[in-house]
Symmetry: C2
Subunit: 210 residues, 2 copies
C-alpha cells in the first residue's frame, strides 16, 4: 500500500520525511496541505494530529506525526538510512534531537518570520535573536563535520536528512553556505546522493513561487 504524506513544499519538516522515504525507495504520495490557507489548523486536521503540524504520515492504519518519528519508522521498515548498532542508533538520534531543538526548530521559525509573516508583524529584534541562535548551532555542526562526511555514522543517515531540512531553501533566512564550509560541502554530498530532490520537486507549494 502506498504511504501517504500530508505535507506542503515550504515545510522543511515535511521535507525530512519526504526525502527519507524517497531515498529509502519507499512508495509514497503527497497529500497537499494548504498551510497558508489554514489547512493545518482545521478541526479535521487536528483530529489527524493534535499538534496541528505537518508532516503526518499515514501507512494503512498507522498514523504518525513528528518528522523524526516518521524518519525513524522508515528506517525500521526498510533497514535503510538508520544506525546499524545501538551505539549508532543513539548517535543518529542525538543529532536528530539537536536538529529539532537548535537547527530546524530555529531555522523554520526564522524563515517563516522573514518570508511569510506580514511585513507589519516582522520584528528585527526577534529575527536577530533567532539568527544568533541558528548560527551558534550551525557553527557546532560545521565543527563536527570537519574531516567527516556525515553527521552520525560513516554513511548518510536520517540524522543528515533531519539537519538539512531547511538548508536547501533559497528564501533568505540569514543562512549563507559560504560561512560554513563544512556544511556547504556536506550539503553538496547530500544533493549528489542518487535520487535526491529539492523540497519543491517533492511536494506542492502552498504559496506560488515569488
Amino acid at each position: 500500500m502506498t504511504i501517504k504524506l500530508h505535507c506542503f513544499g515550504e515545510s522543511g519538516n515535511a521535507y525530512k520525511a519526504a526525502l527519507t522515504m524517497t531515498l529509502a525507495d519507499v512508495e509514497w504520495e503527497p497529500v497537499f496541505v494548504d498551510f497558508f490557507n489554514g489547512a493545518s489548523r482545521t478541526p479535521e486536521f487536528r483530529k489527524l494530529n493534535i499538534m496541528g503540524e505537518v508532516p503526518v504520515m499515514v501507512d494503512g492504519d498507522l498514523v504518525i506525526s513528528q518528522s523524526a518519528v516518521i524518519q525513524d519508522y522508515i528506517t525500521s521498515k526498510t533497514s535503510k538510512l538508520g544506525g546499524k548498532s545501538a551505539d549508532q542508533r543513539r548517535e543518529v538520534l542525538r543529532w536528530m534531537f539537536f536538529d529539532n531543538h537548535k537547527v530546524s526548530g530555529v531555522a523554520g521559525t526564522l524563515r517563516f518570520n522573514m518570508n511569510y509573516l506580514p511585513e507589519a508583524k516582522r520584528s528585527k529584534e526577534v529575527n536577530d535573536f533567532l539568527l544568533m541562535r541558528l548560527k551558534s548551532a550551525l557553527k557546532i555542526m560545521d565543527a563536527h563535520l570537519a574531516g567527516r562526511e556525515w553527521l552520525a555514522t560513516e554513511e548518510l543517515t536520517i540524522a543528515d536528512i533531519a539537519c538539512c531540512g531547511y538548508l536547501f531553501y533559497t528564501e533568505p533566512f540569514g543562512f549563507d553556505r559560504k560561512e560554513f564550509p563544512n556544511i556547504d560541502a556536506w550539503l553538496d554530498r547530500i544533493a549528489a546522493t542518487p535520487g535526491w530532490k529539492h523540497p519543491y520537486d517533492l511536494m506542492q507549494r502552498s504559496l506560488p513561487a515569488a
Copy 2:
C-alpha cells in the same frame, strides 16, 4: 558502576535525565558543571560534548549527550518508563520531539532570557515572541491531557518527564499553571510519583538561590 551525569540544577534538560534515572532506580551521581562560570564552554567540556551542553551521561565507556537520548538509553537499560510496544515507543518519541522543539526548547530559552541574562541585554520583543510560542505549545499539551493521565501511554513515561523538564521551576518565565488546568493536574501527578524530586533537590545550582 555508578552512572555519572554532568549537570547543574538550573538546567531543565539535565533534570529530565536526572529524574529519569531517579525514577528508574538507577544508581547515579551528579558531576557539577558550573554553567554560569563558563564550564560548559571550555575545550575540555567540548571534547566530552561538541554541542557544549549539559546533560552528558557517562556509563563506563559510554558517553551520551542530549537528554532525550539519555532518557531513551535508561528505558532500554531498565525496561522502565518507556513504551511497551513499537506503537507506544513511537508515541513516546513523538512527545519527546514535540518537547524538544516546542516546549523545553522555548521554555529554557525564555527562562534564561528572563532570569539569567544581564538586564541590559533583555528584549521584551524577543521574550513576548517566545512566550507566545510557548503558550501555543502548552495549549496543545493541555488539550491532549484532557481526560488522560499521561501524555503517551497509560503510564508515566519519559515523554512526561521530558515535557515537564522546565515546568517545576518557580523562576518566572510567563508560565502560570492555573492557565492550563490539565497540565496543572498532570504536574501534580508527576510530583506525587514515589521518588520524585524537584530539580534543585537532585542537582547543585550554578547560581545561589535568590
